[in-house]
Amino acid sequence: MEYEAVIGIETHVELATASKMFCGCPAQFGADPNTNVCPVCLGLPGALPVPNEQAIEWIVAIGLALDCEIAHRSQFHRKNYFYADQPKNYQISQFDVPVCSGGRLDIEVAGVVSRVRINRVHMEEDTGKMIHVGGGGRIKDADHSLLDFNRSGVPLVEIVTEPDLSSPQQARAFAQELQTIVLALGVSDAKLEEGSMRFDGNVSIRPKGTQEMGTKVEVKNMNSFRSLERALAYEIERQTAALEAGEQVLQETRHWDEGAGVTGGMRSKEESSDYRYFPEPDLVPIEINDTRREAIRNALPELPAARRLRWAALGIDPASIAVLVAGGSDLAGVFDGAVAAGADPKTVANWLTGEVTAFLRRELVDLGATPLTGGYLFELERLYAAGDLSSTAAKQVLVGVLAGEGSPAEVAEERDLIQISDTGALATEIDRVLAEHPAAYQRLKEGDPKVVGFLVGQVMKVTAGKADPKVVSTMLRQKAED
């Protein structure tokens, strides 16, 4: 029998607000353990939550970007379960009235566009982190566990799709598109490897063409797009094999093991949990009237879909557009700034998708942390277009600018990369080379085209690579005709 997969994705996005969801502690990642904590996010007796208004604005922005309805009045609930990394042993989350509901996101796989419906987008708080010491880092065999509450209370947005996806490739495309939207909105670092964006998949299979849903399995712990795709593919294969062998698929949560390339079952106890949701009495409902919602809508930046259309019209190829869009608002800002100043879009796009992206990846920095601006990129493109910089030199200057060595002109000067395209200066050098290589000069005069390359190389050598090879070549050809 042939089976088809039914996939839904739950995405958690940690918002990059300055402070946590319900207290004033810094929300940033990477501080020493238990330094960004206070009575509220440690769940000390008597402490009370106060909602972060910035986080509320940002979840509305996410909802609007996904075409969701925004509730005029939504409610926080307590989700009750005991876990040592959760200081209150309940999580402040949302239940029957989330901030956003009923949206959609279009994705494209191999030229086919499909629509993924968004069930809901709700606001909650993150838990602390548990580090298990000994026993291979698993709680079951650990000698002891350490707790870090820096992450406790960081604002978390959960985005839940309808089960509209049917392949791991679609799931990956959805995840990537969602990431580009979150980056474009500038509301999260959206780093999968740091856990600031996390995807869980709900997978079931059913005989192809049937409507009834199969047993759903939740797959967790994928920390890259590739592992999301692999985990879902594995899970579909596993469930298919089970059904074909006449076995049943158990409703459970399974962990993706990246190294082994398999999913494994977790504690079965968790499946029967009853979270006993009830309205959070420490908080009043979230009110978002039409005026506030429209103000947030009007402040939305350009979204990836619109960016793609606009950049395609500039003649940028789809592969470059994909990289530019994935770079988020910072990259888009630099690109648009350079183009608006008058730079050639294709040249600038090539640099951004090539050298700049490689630099950021190599140095592990964000574009926003470098001095590169649209203005600098325009200045560099002018130097290149005027022939003052060779293609290679331009890329070297770009790296210098990224590294903070100064403006393109300053870097070119400092690194001594300005091309000699002044024919007067080059004529002297050419004459010297021809004098040193009489045999080659002779062949040039006889019209041997193959010798031109050799002579250009010699000129480049004596000018330490600064001569403009195109100009030298032209001048040599003229010399031959003289």
Binding site: P39, L42, G43, L44, P45, G46, A47, L48, P49, V50, P51, R78, N80, F82, A84, P87, K88, N89, Y90, I139, S145, L147, D274, R276, Y277, F278, P281, D282, L283, V284
Partner: protein
């Protein structure tokens, strides 16, 4: 020779200001009174001699330099031990928090200190404020100063007993279902629960968040109003804190009740109320009528269901609020082979039977399949109670009833029967469900020599009229700051 410990806030304040009394003298008199009574009363869990003495000395020095810190300058105040105090042990009456020292002050405590108050110590209570007698304290019960074989009421029993005995001039209590008003009634003092949101709950160890409210316990209505002026106010750390204007609550004291419409709640002033209590209640109502109030009987049909709704909503909220006491970060820890076992053992050892009962009750009420029938239904009843009150206040300015159906009962007499204990709060619970203010004022003594309290209720933010009526009840009752026999000798009566 009377002791300064028996002065009212207004009298002591005048003495301090006029230089006739020092904060140190007042504090030492308070400590002396505690030495005299604590062995029998056990009103306090912690008395902070050292810091209180330092604060009193500082208050005197400030005054010598011409600096009057605030309206509670030099006044010895006790804090119910479910409000956190920086560097001072806070247990909520539970063994699960034995030895716990908080890193911060509750907002209400900060307000008291900023107004110049001297924190004497932390008073006993039913564990996590769950109870009506202080017998559920994890540290042993308190006794009633009027008869030490009887309970002081609860859960703010330690605070009420301390104020009645003079081992504090005023005290803070918290009221979730009557926990300020009922012990005030049983101890012959004034106890006031403000409108929900008026006093910040930040730093109050939560029992039932949607019902909890901090309020003053004092010997006079005026002192209660003055204390409320200090502790009420918007707090950005409490999302449910009221954001509007905070008037001066003493503004209408002494205005009398002429022309005010007073409604006697039919459902709370007949069956189930002890005859002696009812008789004292009726006399007080008569005195209001004599004072020119227009008295009528008002029916609030939902009162019958309020107690049941309360005993679903409060346990439901407490089941989540008390989940944080897990042995992981603070308080008691009983080791186990796994985290789950450690938490289960810690909670089993740390919580007393009543707290355990309510956590189980609340967990059950919120469970899948039962939520609608229990918690959901209780919320509907709560809505009906609010509607009943709203309708009633269209016709009257205040509602009145006895505070407690009975006077102080014998220690141990009701501990075996939780339901009979729950019934003690039947008159006070409705105000908590509605989030409206209520006050208990002593109006008489029963045949056994035990105080009887009179409850006044007002619409949300109706504190001014509430205190106005309370002052008239106090004036007309000839209670005249009557003191318990155990302190009469020291009091100099």
């Amino acid at each position: 020779m009377s002791s300064p410990a028996d002065l009212t806030l207004a009298e002591a304040s005048a003495g301090l200001r006029g230089g006739k009394l020092s904060a140190r003298e007042l504090l030492e008199a308070t400590f002396d009174r505690a030495s005299l009574t604590e062995a029998e009363l056990h009103a306090y869990l912690t008395i902070d001699h050292e810091n209180a003495r330092a604060a009193a000395a500082a208050a005197d020095e400030a005054q010598a330099n011409g600096l009057w810190v605030g309206p509670l300058h030099g006044i010895p105040v006790a804090i119910k031990d479910n409000m956190v105090t920086a560097a001072l042990q806070t247990t909520a009456g539970s063994q699960i928090l034995a030895g716990y020292v908080p890193p911060y002050d509750a907002t209400a405590v900060t307000a008291l200190k900023s107004a110049g108050a001297i924190i004497v110590g932390k008073t006993n209570l039913d564990e996590f404020a769950m109870g009506s007698s202080t017998e559920n304290s994890g540290y042993g019960p308190s006794a009633n100063p009027w008869d030490t074989t009887r309970v002081p009421g609860g859960s703010s029993g330690g605070s009420a007993a301390a104020v009645a005995a003079g081992s504090a001039m005023i005290a803070l209590g918290s009221d979730t279902g009557g926990s300020i008003r009922q012990p005030a009634s049983l101890c012959g003092v004034v106890g006031m629960k403000p409108t929900y949101g008026l006093v910040s709950r930040y730093g109050l160890i939560a029992f039932a968040s949607s019902l909890d409210q901090i309020g003053p316990i004092s010997r006079t209505v005026e002192d209660a109003a003055a204390t409320l002026e200090v502790i009420a106010g918007h707090d950005p750390l409490d999302a449910t804190s009221y954001r509007g204007e905070y008037p001066r609550y003493r503004s209408l004291l002494g205005e009398g009740v002429s022309g005010l419409r007073v409604g006697v709640v039919a459902e709370l002033s007949g069956a189930g109320i002890h005859p002696e209590v009812l008789s004292a209640f009726r006399s007080a109502v008569d005195s209001l009528a004599e004072g020119g109030a227009i008295v009528s009987e008002v029916s609030l049909p939902s009162m019958e269901y309020a107690l049941s709704a309360y005993y679903l909503i409060a346990p439901a909220e407490c089941s989540a609020n008390l989940a944080r006491f897990d042995g992981v970060r603070y308080g008691l820890r009983v080791d186990g082979a796994t985290v789950e076992e450690m938490t289960a053992r810690t909670r089993a050892a740390g919580f007393g039977p009543e707290v355990t009962r309510r956590i189980l009750l609340g967990t059950y009420a919120l469970s899948a399949g039962y939520y609608d029938a229990f918690y959901g239904q209780a919320q509907k009843v709560r809505t009906l109670v609010i509607q009943d009150f709203t309708r009633a206040y269209e016709g009257v300015d205040v509602l009145v009833s006895p505070t407690s159906p009975i006077t102080a009962f014998e220690l141990g007499s009701r501990t075996e029967d939780p339901l009979s204990m729950y019934l003690v709060d039947v008159c006070t619970i409705p105000s908590n469900l509605a989030g409206t203010p209520g006050i208990s004022v002593p109006v008489g003594i029963d045949g056994a020599g035990l105080p009887i309290g009179f409850q006044i209720m007002a619409p949300a933010l109706g504190e001014e009229v509430l205190f106005r009526v309370a002052a008239e009840v106090e004036r007309a009752s000839a209670w005249n700051n009557r003191r318990p026999p155990m302190v009469e000798a020291d009091h100099g009566v």
